[in-house]
């Protein structure tokens, strides 16, 4: 049997949960729909049959209540994993997360730990609309005491979820619904991926691109196109927002002199804002162009796909931003960009991109 298989992020997350439940009897899985036939987009399917409804626990529609319950159980030695099918649902539980999950280790001077994971999923497309597609990872990253992880690639997603469950801190895992479809090579069995900062996924010297969550997939597509015309970008997956560890990115920008941040969430007050600040503090003397940010515009997510035409950053927009940062204006670049734009035009804006295969 091969060590690595090509599986989706959704399957990788399910595999991680299965392994965690098998390894530690204190691990619990709870949420609205964790035992239902759809199994949180396939990420929890079958687990109740294997581990029983005392460990894989269907929840009433009471997000703040069951989040508080999970915190109480965590204080008593359980390791609950809470799942919300949309980030937006978790807003009802922010009181428990901000006041209690994030602060109890600190307030008790280390007397209590809160080992829990909260998975939440960003929706996109098929008319999800304004309250089913919010990318609010920086809201959670605002609060010291929470860790915030954005699993994006299959190998890492599996190892990050296992690491999050073993972590003695509350870990928020923000998954993009479209990332669930991305395939990658995933090792069999147990392993962890440390929750310790951004991950360099591509080396280059022309510019530094930092992307969060699904935008990493767009950034990689853009980097492929740019590489074809001799522009080698360094690409980072900003996989861990908290703890915030910008050192590797600052080092990269000190080499490239150019920074582009591509946010899955809002452009303003997004991860890009913090990163540009960190780079300004740590690489100001090496910047040859002002840093640039891409992200969502200043309005809620509309439902109609017509209104989404210019809403989400795309690989083409990333190519354009890098071209401006590097002042590259070749005929070859224009041709390559046109080919990319033509390919993207064949893809609906409102369903997950079927061409993405990975791995990287």
């Amino acid at each position: 049997m091969p060590d690595n298989r090509l599986i989706t992020v959704a399957d990788a997350l399910r595999e991680a949960m299965d392994i965690a439940l098998a390894r530690d009897d204190n691990v619990l899985l709870m949420g609205e729909g964790v035992v239902d036939p759809k199994g949180i987009f396939g990420t929890t399917t079958g687990l109740v049959d294997k581990y029983g409804d005392e460990r894989v626990i269907e929840m009433p529609v009471a997000e703040n209540g069951f989040t508080g319950m999970a915190i109480g159980a965590a204080l008593m030695g359980c390791r609950p994993v809470v799942v919300h099918q949309r980030v937006d649902f978790s807003l009802l539980s922010v009181e428990q997360l901000f006041n209690n999950a994030a602060k109890t280790f600190y307030v008790t001077g280390g007397g209590h730990t809160v080992p829990m994971v909260v998975r939440m999923i960003i929706g996109r497309g098929w008319g999800q609309g304004p309250a089913h597609s919010q990318a609010l990872e920086t809201l959670f990253a605002l609060v010291p005491g929470l860790k915030v992880v954005l699993p994006t690639t299959a190998r890492e997603a599996k190892g990050q979820l296992l690491a999050a469950i073993e972590d003695d801190n509350p870990v928020i895992m923000v998954e993009h619904r479209w990332v669930h479809y991305a395939r990658g090579e995933v090792p069999e069995g147990y392993y962890t991926v440390p929750l310790d900062g951004p991950r360099r996924v591509r080396e280059g010297n022309a510019a530094t691109i930092v992307a969060t969550s699904y935008m990493l997939l767009e950034a990689m597509r853009a980097a492929d196109a740019l590489e074809d015309v001799g522009i080698d970008c360094e690409v980072f997956d900003l996989a861990v927002l908290r703890p915030f560890r910008p050192e590797a990115i600052i080092e990269s920008v000190r080499r490239t002199g150019r920074l582009l941040v591509v946010d899955t969430g809002f452009r303003l007050f997004g991860a890009g804002a913090e990163l540009v600040a960190a780079v300004a503090e740590g690489a100001f003397d090496k910047l040859v162009e002002p840093p640039r940010r891409l992200g969502l515009p200043e309005h809620p997510t509309p439902s109609s796909r017509a209104l989404l035409t210019n809403y989400y950053p795309s690989a083409t927009m990333i190519v354009d931003a890098v071209a401006e940062l590097t002042r590259a204006h070749s005929h070859r670049l224009s041709e390559r960009r046109a080919a990319l734009a033509e390919m993207l035009a064949t893809l609906p804006v409102d369903v997950p991109n079927p061409t993405f295969q990975g791995p990287f």
Partner: protein, 334 residues
Amino acid sequence: MSALATQPIFREALDPFPDLVAAYRAMLRIRMIEEAIVEHYPEQEMRCPVHLSIGQEAVPVGVCTNLRNTDQATTSHRCHAHYLAKGGDLRRMMAEIYGKAAGCCGGRGGSMHLFDSDAGMLLSLPIVASSVPIAVGAGLALKRRGGDGVAVAFLGDAATEEGVFHESMNLAMLRQLPVLFVVENNLYSVYTPLAARQPERPLINLALAHSMPAEHGDGNDVVAVHAITARAIERARAGGGPSFLVFDTYRWREHCGPNYDNDIGYRTNDEFMAWRELCPIDRAKRRIREERLLSAEQESRLRRDIEQEIADAIAFAREAPFPAPDSAGARVYA
């Protein structure tokens, strides 16, 4: 209206109280500790909010005399009495109020975050009803352990207005968890009376929505509180699930701080005096005298011992060092 709405569902006679003197001593100790806080607060050395339970001591003591150290309790901002009744360390409580490193939270929580893991005082949280689902989670963990431990959520009447309270009741009943929801109904949320916040109906009717066993009692009678709680705990330990208990009582002093505030206009002095007559400690003391459970000499020795303990705790707290300023950023993550 169903019988449950207006009558206790427990029909048995009240159990005889096991140790009235111990309960009296526990209430008196809480009263004397909080009166010491009143005395020292104007010195401006206890620089955090204090929410005193003076007048409400019978509920914490009546409940906690049924509990073991391994049982878990959560409470609100008004947490001193629960912490003390559950067995929380007095020195660490006073040091916390003084902001010292030896405090139970090392000076990070103040008076509203008291906890003591050795005593099963799991957590105090100052957001109304925020600690209620925490107790449900403790109940879930205790049930998973397979023993007969119980979790108690202490809450005030205002907490029953919060959504998360109702979510917690539903969760506890759905999963038949060993949890007691103990409401100390002191009739006010800060300055706003219950009648301005909730419709006219018995508070225990809230349990009807969840088919949860419920009982209403005199929160200034430690014997009644103990007996009502004993039955609920016995059922919880036997796997019979949660209970909802409502005890009426009265906060003597201001919502936050050491003073009386009957003069500012939200309640009358007559109302206060009527409740003052129902002092839970005086009532227990009368019964102790009637039954000759304590001689005058024993009584004064008991007081002297408590006075000495309090003086020692306050001296300890005052003399204890502050936490190092540069430690403020430590232990954010485990």
